[in-house]
């Protein structure tokens, strides 16, 4: 530990001298404390497990239903992955269209913003009606929920390009396609990665909502099914699995960010 960190005068809240274990330790301790309090409260006041299950009951449910939960996690993870990729493709394509074709973009962009304000969760039943009960309606729902942060982030990045750099490119005869591919698109990559991280968390929401609206498999299906059986412990167990899948997915995208844009300003601060 450096002197600055020891005396708390470092420029970051979390002193850099700390090892990973040390910086996780307070969080872990707090979590253990909360779980212990939870368990104690349930036992002390004799709360029925169908209202709030004790952590131990959740663990038991998780072990009991390990295989169904794992199978459901695979189904949901697949929906998230396919939906996320589709949302990324749609989001990127829309951004490039708006950026490249000024006039069409000016017409299209307000419509995208308008659509963004439709409560898209409400579209889930319609998608079930159109696409059935399998993967397709979930992917559709994830696309409409998650494409917007992708589109918006790319456009923000493209607009942030210095006008003098564009002028420089134009002056030597570069056309709009060359400026888009050589300057604007790479320039917007860090923004795109930030947008994809938001899209990743939205994708999890989209998959679960899609399964709520109609599904025969998946973690959302288990949550709904278990709650009708008053098996609240299983609901919580499934929730934990969803969260783990979501967090894993998020960090996957964050890991990709380091690979794709190691030059991004956020990685190069002194």
């Amino acid at each position: 530990m450096s002197a600055a960190a020891r005396y708390g005068v470092g420029h970051t809240a979390e002193p850099r001298g700390w090892t990973a274990a040390e910086s996780w330790l307070p969080t872990l301790a707090l979590a253990v404390l909360v779980v212990a309090l939870w368990e104690a409260t349930i036992r002390l006041f004799n709360v029925s497990s169908y209202i709030v299950p004790a952590p131990s009951a959740i663990v038991v449910a998780m072990i009991r239903e390990a295989w169904p939960l794992a199978a459901a996690a695979v189904v949901t993870a697949k929906e998230i992955l396919v939906g996320f990729l589709a949302a990324a493709v749609v989001g990127i394509a829309l951004a490039l269209i708006v950026a490249r074709f000024r006039l069409f973009g000016r017409a299209l962009y307000p419509l995208i913003v308008l659509f963004q304000n439709v409560p898209k969760v409400a579209l889930a039943p319609i998608f079930i009606l159109w696409f059935g009960y399998d993967l397709a309606p979930k992917v559709g729902l994830i696309v409409v929920i998650a494409f917007f942060p992708v589109t918006l982030s790319i456009l923000t990045g493209i607009e942030a390009v210095e006008p003098s750099l564009i002028a420089l490119m134009r002056s030597v005869g570069a056309g709009p396609n060359e400026i888009l591919t050589k300057i604007q698109m790479p320039h917007a990559l860090p923004n795109l990665m930030a947008g994809l991280k938001i899209a990743a968390t939205f994708s999890v929401i989209g998959a679960i909502v899609g399964e709520f609206a109609g599904a025969s498999a998946g973690l959302g299906y288990i949550i709904q099914f278990a709650s009708t059986q008053l098996d609240t412990a299983l609901v919580f167990a499934a929730l934990i699995v969803v969260s783990v899948v979501g967090v894993g997915f998020y960090y996957l995208v964050e890991y990709l960010e380091r690979l794709v844009v190691p030059w991004a300003p956020k990685f190069n601060r002194p």
């Binding site: 210095e162 003098s164 750099l165 490119m169 002056s171 790479p186 030059w263 991004a264 300003p265």
Partner: protein
Amino acid sequence: MSKVRDLTAPAGAMPLVEAENVSVELGQDAKRQVVLQNVNLAVPEGAFVSLIGPSGCGKSTLLKALAGLVQPASGSVRVGGLPPHEAARRRQIGLIFQDSNLLPWKNALENAAMLRGVADKAMPRAELRDRASAMLDLVGLKDAAMKRPAELSGGMRQRVAIARALTLDPAVLLMDEPFGALDAITREAMSQSLLEIWERTRKTIVLVTHSIDEAIYLSSEVHALGAGPGRIIDTLTIPLPYPRGEATYDHPRFAEMERRLRALLRRGHRREGPR
């Protein structure tokens, strides 16, 4: 106005960069404003010319007009006898702004090669690389070729921008306050480097600056601009001998030039009046 084109001069003495009665208006409709009025400017080949003036006098706009980035409302601009956008397309104009405008995902060498690569697609890659590398060497960044902009200081980034312009092999370098964002010590080092680059490459340079010292130290000729509307008030020929260096600041005529330029600019400023 001392630099009116001499029509009796032989064709070979044609200035490389020339503005004739250039007026520029910017803004839309009611906000339309005359930024430059009847500016005449002639920059001989190989000269180092500075444009100096207070903020808002239109010196940057004049440079942009010379570069073809701003269209004059009336009058004409010629660079090497061509309209400026045409000259730029033929790689005759090297532009350097206050912002180095480097691409953060490319290293110094790739940045130096970038514009030439866009402008001159027929150039073989190896040749482009060699040229960019030689220009990085010229600006003193031989050892930083593989570094990305984030790893370079502000002064070094500006050096890469100069190398990028030189890789085009232009006839003229148009520089818009290239050292404006740098600290005083870096500025002086950059001025010295720029002089050396100019002496070695013999490129014509037009420099926009708001530093009186910098203008006198570097240029063979200084055009002082006044505001409201922007115009050239007067032109000073700087009689200090090249090559210039530390001793130039101590030259007795340096202080005299400084005094004269300061008086000129004050006069131009006073005439600006309330807005």
